[in-house]
């Protein structure tokens, strides 16, 4: 937690959070990141893969929301990243797989699988992150949510 966040909380702008939650999630945060990338990078060895690793990466956004519920991440930027990786997902197989390049050169095969796993994992992570942030920080459209 940065100093300005700490001062914002001390100034009473944020609801008081449990210290246990803060410490435990702060401790687990790098391990969640590590687990996500482990699942993504071992996609062709284990039954995990891009989607599963991306889901684990998206929990980082939840963890941050639970400890520090301030909307400064910018879901627009995340969505831009997601579209960027989606374009790469559409381009990479078109250039590598459908031209027969990968199947002709067996030394590139696991490299291609890892590349696709990383792209899919990041795309899913950013996408689910946008979804979580949108739901968590939605304030309501005037009278719609009063139904």
């Amino acid at each position: 937690m940065s100093p300005e966040e700490r001062t914002a909380r001390n100034a009473g702008e944020l609801p008081e959070q449990s210290l246990i939650l803060e410490v435990v999630i702060g401790f687990l945060y790098p391990f969640m990141l590590l687990l996500g990338f482990h699942v993504i990078l071992n996609g062709h060895y284990t039954p995990g893969g891009g989607f599963q690793g991306g889901g684990v990466l998206a929990t980082l956004f939840i963890a941050r929301y639970v400890v520090f519920p301030v909307n400064d991440t910018g879901s627009e930027q995340l969505h831009l990243n997601q579209r960027f990786f989606l374009a790469l997902i559409l381009l990479a197989p078109t250039g590598l797989l459908f031209t027969g390049f990968v199947n002709r050169n067996p030394e590139f095969q696991s490299l291609y699988l890892t590349l696709m796993d990383i792209l899919i994992g990041l795309q899913v992570g950013f996408g689910l992150g946008v979804a979580v942030l949108r739901f968590a920080f939605f304030q309501g459209v005037g009278k719609v949510w009063r139904l």
Binding site: G48, F51, Q52, G55, I62, F138, K143, V144, R146, L147
Partner: protein, 186 residues
């Protein structure tokens, strides 16, 4: 054996999620269902999938459901007893609960799976109109019931339409107000 037990438990929790009385309970049952599915993945030697299922099913989806449910508000209906002491007695409450108008309003909220609660209160109409907690204010008049619906709520538009179509039968006069109005404004 343990697989069959897990699958049967999943079926039980799925049925419980469908038949839960409150939506919050259903969300928790679904989270347990996902956890059992994750356990099944572990039994089939896929721990990565199990982690992902537990994270997505029990974490992400539960959070999204709860965030959506948080927006679902409870509707408080105030029934005014201003100036009539007998209107706070049990007999009057029982009588009003069985009138056609109240039954129709309760049915209206039940159809839309919205929570409504009826409050018998002795505050005046002006105080009730100024109170933002009340969405609907009922006041018994000489020849029926006057219903004051808050205008910042879409449900009240529908309710007004319902009573416009056959409000005469249950004797309801529907009036819209914006919160902060006094009795003379509406």
């Amino acid at each position: 054996m343990i697989e069959a037990g897990t699958v049967i438990l999943m079926g039980v929790f799925a049925a419980m999620a469908i038949h839960a009385r409150l939506l919050r309970q259903a969300v928790i049952y679904l989270a347990v269902f996902s956890l059992l599915a994750a356990f099944l993945y572990v039994l089939y030697a896929a721990p990565e999938l199990a982690v992902a299922e537990a994270v997505i099913g029990s974490g992400l989806v539960t959070l999204l459901y709860l965030a959506a449910l948080k927006r679902n508000r409870e509707y408080t209906i105030a029934l005014l007893a201003e100036g009539h002491r007998y209107r706070l007695s049990d007999a009057y409450i029982n009588y009003m609960d069985r009138t056609r108008a109240i039954q129709e309003i309760r049915h209206f909220f039940e159809l839309r799976e919205l929570e409504s609660q009826l409050v018998f209160t002795s505050i005046t109409l002006n105080e009730a109109l100024a109170d933002p907690r009340f969405s609907l204010i009922l006041l018994e008049e000489r020849d029926g019931i006057a219903a004051y619906g808050s205008s910042d709520s879409y449900v009240m538009d529908e309710l007004e339409l319902v009573f416009l179509m056959h409000g005469g039968e249950s004797g309801v006069r529907f009036i819209r107000y914006t919160p902060g109005d006094t009795e003379q404004d509406v």
